[in-house]
């Protein structure tokens, strides 16, 4: 009884405090916007500082020269070639395997422990630190399979790293296919593979391509796993085959950043602008593909 009365008295003493509460609302809205602004301001700061440092250093000579001990002569040719080689082989492995794994999980796997197990595995692999993939690559591809510290070993390592991204994106793309398309195909007597091959994959293609470009842009920026498998940091040549040794742009940037001469900070900045430029092109490509292909349906 006493407690009930107390509550009643407090209710009677209720003051709306509208002024304070309105101010609270306004402040809460404001600091939310400020938090986002801080994040975006850091991004702008990073881009502007790096861009300014690259001015005068990013030129044709930089793109077409090999690395050098002298900042004025240093270039990113070996790194650009290495990145292209590694990326081509990474996608060669990860694209078909990732897409097929997603098709299995969405179209073939019966509900049950096996599907759940594979699904949890893929979710966990997506959050394993990238450097752990480097140790896996070092032990399995470099040592056991005796591929050496080659383009192929690096590409296989990165392929495993980006596999979860491709699987999840492809699964989502397949899930977005309307069930009526499947039903129509089966109704005409098509087998499961015919339905997938001729109806589901074409429909899901924009989503699959976008997922693969995202995966490739993740792989292009990775350096830790490739350093771990022993990619070179000073390379005065371009790879001639998949078993050659290599370097990639992020490793080259890391190497320039760790050099003593102050001018190498400008060389590193030029490398960063090239790397971010490639990433920007790829992501614009992803958006373009999605927009262009959406119109077909």
């Amino acid at each position: 009884m006493a407690a009930g009365l107390g509550r009643l008295e407090r209710t009677q003493a209720y003051r709306p405090r509208l002024g304070i509460r309105r101010a609270y609302n306004a402040v809460a809205t404001g600091i939310g916007l400020v938090a986002i602004a801080i994040g975006l301001a850091m991004l702008a700061w990073l881009l502007i500082e790096t861009g300014l440092k690259a001015v005068g250093w990013l030129d044709w000579q930089f793109i077409t020269s090999f690395d050098s001990r002298f900042p004025e002569r240093a270039g990113a040719k070996a790194a650009i070639y290495g990145t292209a080689w590694v990326m081509a082989f990474t996608l060669l492995f990860s694209l078909p395997i990732g897409v097929m794994a997603a098709i299995y999980l969405e179209e073939y796997a019966p509900e049950g422990w096996l599907k759940g197990f594979i699904q949890i595995n893929i979710a966990n692999l997506a959050s394993v630190p990238s450097i752990i993939y480097g140790l896996l690559g070092l032990q399995v591809f470099v040592r056991w399979m005796e591929l050496g510290r080659s383009v192929l070993a690096g590409a296989l390592t990165l392929a495993l790293l980006v596999l979860p991204i491709i699987v999840v994106a492809t699964q989502e793309a397949l899930r977005s296919v309307p069930p009526s398309i499947r039903d129509a195909s089966y109704a005409l007597g098509a087998t499961r593979w015919q339905t997938i091959r001729h109806h589901l994959l074409p429909y899901a293609l924009p989503g699959i391509l976008t997922g693969n470009i995202l995966a490739a842009s993740r792989a292009i920026g990775e350096s830790a796993p490739l350093i771990t498998i022993g990619a070179l940091t000073y390379v005065p040549f371009t790879p001639q085959g998949p078993l050659d040794r290599f370097t990639v742009l992020p490793i080259q940037i890391f190497n320039w950043t760790s050099r003593a001469q102050a001018d190498f900070q400008h060389v590193a900045a030029a490398g960063i602008v090239v790397l971010l430029g490639i990433l920007l092109l790829m992501n614009s490509g992803a958006i373009l593909i999605r927009e262009l292909m959406r119109r077909r349906y």
Binding site: I36, I38, L46, I131, P164, R192, L276
Partner: protein, 310 residues
């Protein structure tokens, strides 16, 4: 046989398919299964390759020394194998990163989910996601050449330190924390918000006293996943935090995280089967175990959260 919308309700025999067609169907299914198995094989491969070399490591170094010694000098003539300096450095940079990413990320998430007009949200969310797409080596460069010199105007700081590396890492994981927390808050049923408004609460009161508590396990999952990212992050700390294994929590001096150690040894020439080669895997196992526990905790929290409102 039941029709579940994805499989043909008829067996191949009923449809009168030729045997060759059936064989092809079976072969395709088998290949697809093998591709999906790569995921499980990768996990097994990670665990096996880590465990093999780690066991070999502990044949030479006692596990007691590994977890009690406070010095890490495996490449010196007097070798000491105490993991603690690497663990404290990893912990220090990750906590600084969380101190940046959690307040900013949560406020950003609340704003995007509860306050922002859908059109503003459609612009701000992808803009924030760009932060997650910047390669980590670029963040490392930014921490070393921009943030450290800037902070040196205000405090006494070594060229390599845990503070700038941690701050920049916080900016890197901000989108992870923000976007997962926002997912959690958006999943809170509209009826809870409407009940709040019905009682006369304003937007901020509903956001902070109704939606945030309701989304708490999802937000916790986001923070834990952010922590796991920070623990496993390599290039930022390798470039900006230093390469000096030191048993300290001082953010102004050079330190060495677990990931930095792996990079440092990998850059040198480490013969296969040597003790320094094995230290890579001992440190790697510790790192993997730590992030694995964090990832599972985050996964469990997200699932619990989804069950609450499904």
């Amino acid at each position: 046989m039941t029709l579940d919308g994805r499989t043909s309700p008829f067996t191949p025999e009923q449809l009168g398919y030729k045997r060759s067609r059936q064989l092809k169907e079976g072969a395709v299914a088998a290949v697809m299964f093998l591709a999906a198995a790569v995921g499980a094989i990768t996990t097994a491969g990670i665990i096996l390759s880590l465990i093999g070399e780690t066991i070999a490591f502990f044949r030479d170094v006692s596990i007691v020394e590994f977890v009690t010694e406070t010095e890490w000098t495996p490449l010196f003539s007097v070798k000491k194998f105490g993991i603690w300096p690497l663990v404290t450095a990893t912990f220090l940079t990750s906590v600084i990163a969380l101190l940046v990413a959690v307040p900013l990320g949560l406020l950003a998430a609340v704003f995007l989910s509860e306050f922002a007009h859908p059109r503003l949200r459609a612009f701000l969310k992808p803009a924030l996601e760009v932060l997650a797409g910047i390669p980590t080596v670029v963040y490392g460069y930014f921490a070393l050449t921009v943030v450290t010199p800037f902070l040196r105007h205000f405090i006494d700081l070594s060229l390599f330190n845990g503070l700038s590396a941690g701050i920049v890492m916080g900016i890197m994981i901000l989108p992870t924390v923000a976007s997962l927390s926002e997912d959690a808050m958006s999943a809170v049923p509209q009826s809870l918000r409407e009940a709040g408004y019905g009682l006369g609460a304003n937007r901020a009161e509903v956001a902070f006293r109704v939606v945030m508590p309701a989304a708490l396990s999802g937000i916790a999952a986001a923070v834990i996943l952010g922590f796991s990212r920070a623990v496993g992050e390599t290039m930022i700390v390798a470039i900006a935090a230093g390469q000096n294994p030191r048993f300290t929590l001082d953010p102004t001096v050079p330190i060495m995280t677990m990931t930095t150690y792996i990079v440092q040894v990998s850059l040198g020439d480490t013969p296969y089967g040597s003790l320094s080669y094995r230290t890579l895997f001992a440190v790697g196992s510790t790192l993997f175990a730590l992030t694995f526990v964090l990832n599972i905790a985050s996964y469990v929290l997200v699932r619990r959260f989804r069950q609450e409102y499904d």
